[in-house]
């Protein structure tokens, strides 16, 4: 990874001879947005395989009915750790990595606005990850409550409980600091002429994502703090005997949790909105409506949280409100889907790997969106709740949604970052393997859920055996296909066909005016945007 952005043979600046520092400590002390972006991306790639390994334990156990490999409690630890690592350790850092690398180059800024803080928001992550992963080796094992950490179940966790809670605190601090930095950068560091409504859509989606992060990460921090005091200091927030209510935690968690899922998907929307116009060789259709739709999704995300808890018991008016507000989200999301489609209409399409992932995103995210609409229907949700249908739904929006968005972004900007084209042939193979296996993995889970298979369970009735077997084959296929991605990335970093400043002929934006790879410091003199 040290090859990235070390060549600065162009743009010699009379004031600056600061290249990267020598040695490994460069990565520890760096305040350079490109270095920190690389750190985030490498960290998230490692976590993809850590979290992926946990999920393969789950799928191995579920390959056949009966208990095969692991103890049921360890199975539950795996579902919990898989989710926590994938959400907080993999997908969120991946998008922060993209933000670090691309936002300053897209808006013509010399770096992030608060470079020291930027270093800290990354370097909290490995420590938080260590704290979280260490719980696997403790008395009583890792938390086994699911990532939602519902009391009273989570309060039965052994020694892991305070470690897991403080890990969440650290992850929250990291996210808040990173989000503050991104907002300040976007609001204060734009080049002259780069008005808000000229910003690339990726920058817009991150501005709104950062706002969501600052709004909801403290709420999660408060909620898990209450768990901690309930467990160790005798408070009664979640205990009916003392006048509290375990359902209160669910409200707090999902007030965080629903905006959180948009925190994951909005930057992916941003990447797709960069990729599709490039390979359709047309400007994004309906730019301003895309901006407003993103803002609309963000607003709605605050008033839909209880659709995660229809079955917990709530007044009828509450169920109706949360059902209808949830359905409203289909409108701004639909605006986005139609705009992407319209961007491609009569475009000169070509199908390089980033575009293939973007197209798969478009189809498969939409499937996840539709199953979300089904789940939004309160009376129907009583059937779907806590079934594999829910698992299928959110994996469709997170994996071929969020993760495919990130992979599309990686292929799209790898030539910019490394100065080399990646191996297109291998990229296409990676795409087809991923696209086929991801559907084999998650599509049968819809049928399992509708047929009544509950989630978070290590064993199941025999009638679910066939679909589970298919799903497990898909899981292993998908997981091992990602090793090919790692190989392609490493190969691209080490060499390959030289990429020009504008690596894609249809690409627009300030980042493509810089050489590939860009020098260590870019836009020290702000460009003027017409």
């Amino acid at each position: 990874m040290s090859n990235i952005s070390t060549h600065s043979h162009e743009q010699h600046d009379e004031h600056h001879d600061h290249g990267p520092a020598k040695g490994l400590l460069r990565w520890v002390f760096t305040t350079n947005h490109k270095d920190i972006g690389t750190l985030y991306l490498v960290f998230s790639l490692i976590m993809l395989f850590v979290g992926g390994t946990f999920s393969l334990v789950i799928r191995a156990e579920l390959f056949q009915p009966g208990l095969q490999f692991v103890h049921p409690d360890f199975f539950n630890q795996m579902t919990t750790m898989h989710a926590l690592i994938m959400v907080f350790g993999m997908i969120m850092p991946a998008f922060v990595g993209f933000a670090n690398w691309m936002i300053p180059m897209m808006i013509g800024a010399p770096d992030m606005a608060l470079p020291r803080l930027n270093n800290w928001s990354f370097w909290i992550l490995p420590f938080a990850g260590t704290l979280l992963l260490s719980t696997l080796f403790m008395d009583g094992g890792a938390p086994a409550s699911g990532w939602t950490l519902y009391p009273p179940l989570v309060l039965q966790t052994g020694n892991a409980l305070p470690f897991a809670i403080f890990a969440v605190h650290l992850l929250g601090i990291s996210s808040i600091l990173g989000a503050i930095n991104i907002i300040v950068t976007i609001l204060n560091m734009r080049a002259p002429g780069m008005t808000l409504l000229k910003m690339p859509l990726f920058v817009w989606t991150w501005l709104i994502t950062a706002y969501l992060l600052i709004a909801v990460m403290p709420v999660l921090a408060g909620g898990v703090t209450m768990l901690l005091t309930d467990a160790f200091f005798g408070t009664s927030f979640f205990q009916a005997a003392g006048g509290g209510d375990p359902v209160l935690f669910q409200h707090i968690f999902w007030f965080f949790g629903h905006p959180e899922v948009y925190i994951i998907i909005l930057p992916a929307f941003g990447i797709i909105s960069q990729v599709i116009p490039t390979f359709a060789r047309k400007p994004l259709f309906g730019y301003s409506s895309m901006v407003y739709a993103t803002a609309g999704i963000a607003f709605l995300s605050f008033i839909v949280w209880a659709h995660h808890m229809f079955t917990v018991g709530m007044p009828l008016a509450g169920q109706l409100f949360f059902m209808l507000s949830t359905m409203l989200i289909a409108i701004p999301t639909g605006v986005k889907i139609f705009n992407w489609t319209a961007t491609m209409w009569r475009g000169s399409l070509s199908f390089e790997t980033p575009m293939l992932f973007a197209l798969a995103f478009l189809f498969l995210f939409t499937i996840g969106g539709f199953s979300g609409l089904m789940l939004a229907i309160a009376p129907a949700d009583f059937q779907y709740h806590d079934s594999y249908f829910v698992v299928a739904h959110f994996h469709y929006v997170l994996v071929p949604g969020g993760l495919f968005g990130a992979i599309a972004g990686a292929y799209y900007w790898l030539p910019k970052w490394t100065g080399h084209m990646y191996d297109e042939k291998l990229g296409k193979i990676h795409f087809w393997l991923s696209a086929i296996f991801v559907n084999l993995l998650f599509f049968p889970q819809h049928f399992l859920g509708l047929a009544g298979m509950p989630r978070r369970i290590p064993d199941y009735a025999v009638q679910f055996a066939d679909f589970n077997m298919l799903s497990s084959i898909g899981a292993f296929g998908f997981g091992f296909s990602q090793l090919l991605f790692v190989y392609i990335v490493i190969k691209c970093v080490r060499g390959g066909e030289k990429a020009g400043a504008k690596a894609w002929d249809g690409a627009e934006g300030l980042e493509w005016t810089l050489p590939s790879p860009p020098p260590y410091h870019t836009f020290e003199e702000a460009p003027v945007v017409k």
Partner: protein
Amino acid sequence: MAHAQNKYYIPHGTKWPILGSIGLFTLFFGFSNYLNGGSAGPVAFAGVAIVILMMFLWFREVIHESVSGIYNEQVDKSFRIGMMWFIFSEVMFFGVFFGALFYARQLSVPWLGGEGNNFFTNQLLWQGFESVWPTNGPKHVGGEFEPMGAWGLPALNTIILLSSGVTVTIAHHALKANKRGTLALFLALTFLLGFLFVGLQAYEYGHAYSELNLKLSTGIYGSTFFMLTGFHGMHVTIGGIMLTVIWLRCLKGHFTPTDHFAFEGVAWYWHFVDVVWLGLFIFVYWL
């Protein structure tokens, strides 16, 4: 170098963040071990010490850079926007504890008392429980207690904290008018009022624990009361320390009538703890 001053200052490398991460990790590792009954509790204090050292070194470097004049207006604006969003995150943090209070008072306690469609919850699970506030729940968790009144010490504390909001504003105007004497006096008054507030809160906690039998473990009332006032008191303490640092910097001649972001950032923070207290006084003590 005159040209360089117009550029946005970008530091090249920093050692403090990794120190902070090590400190936080040490703190949380030690504290978790202590909560599990282990013997590594004192390690947490080492973590706190590392974090304080990190803040000292980090702020010292930033202050040196600021005094030496390498920050231009755009850097100043970055700090301002950053501070505003940090305070917004704090607002959300307090919001969740206020949310828990309102949820308990408006929903969970009335439900336990049989309101709405919860008649059988009350009859079968918590028979005889009447929904009142304050309460420590149907099981009287923590035993009989007396609630904290509003019009004694808390009212006095309200006056103290609101006055400190006035004094910090007077200090700010003095700074802008370059009246350094008034500035130092009213800034000192501000943090002294702040620490007086914290002292009275500590006294009130003692009173609650020893005479009212009102504790953190006194059901939902004790939980919300102590968590809200406790986190607020912690923020007042931190704010008081920040004001003290700003005061010392004023005595050393830092800040000019036009360039004093650190002062304003701390003043914003102080007004924020002020407003939180008003919410506390109204919803925790009074109503």
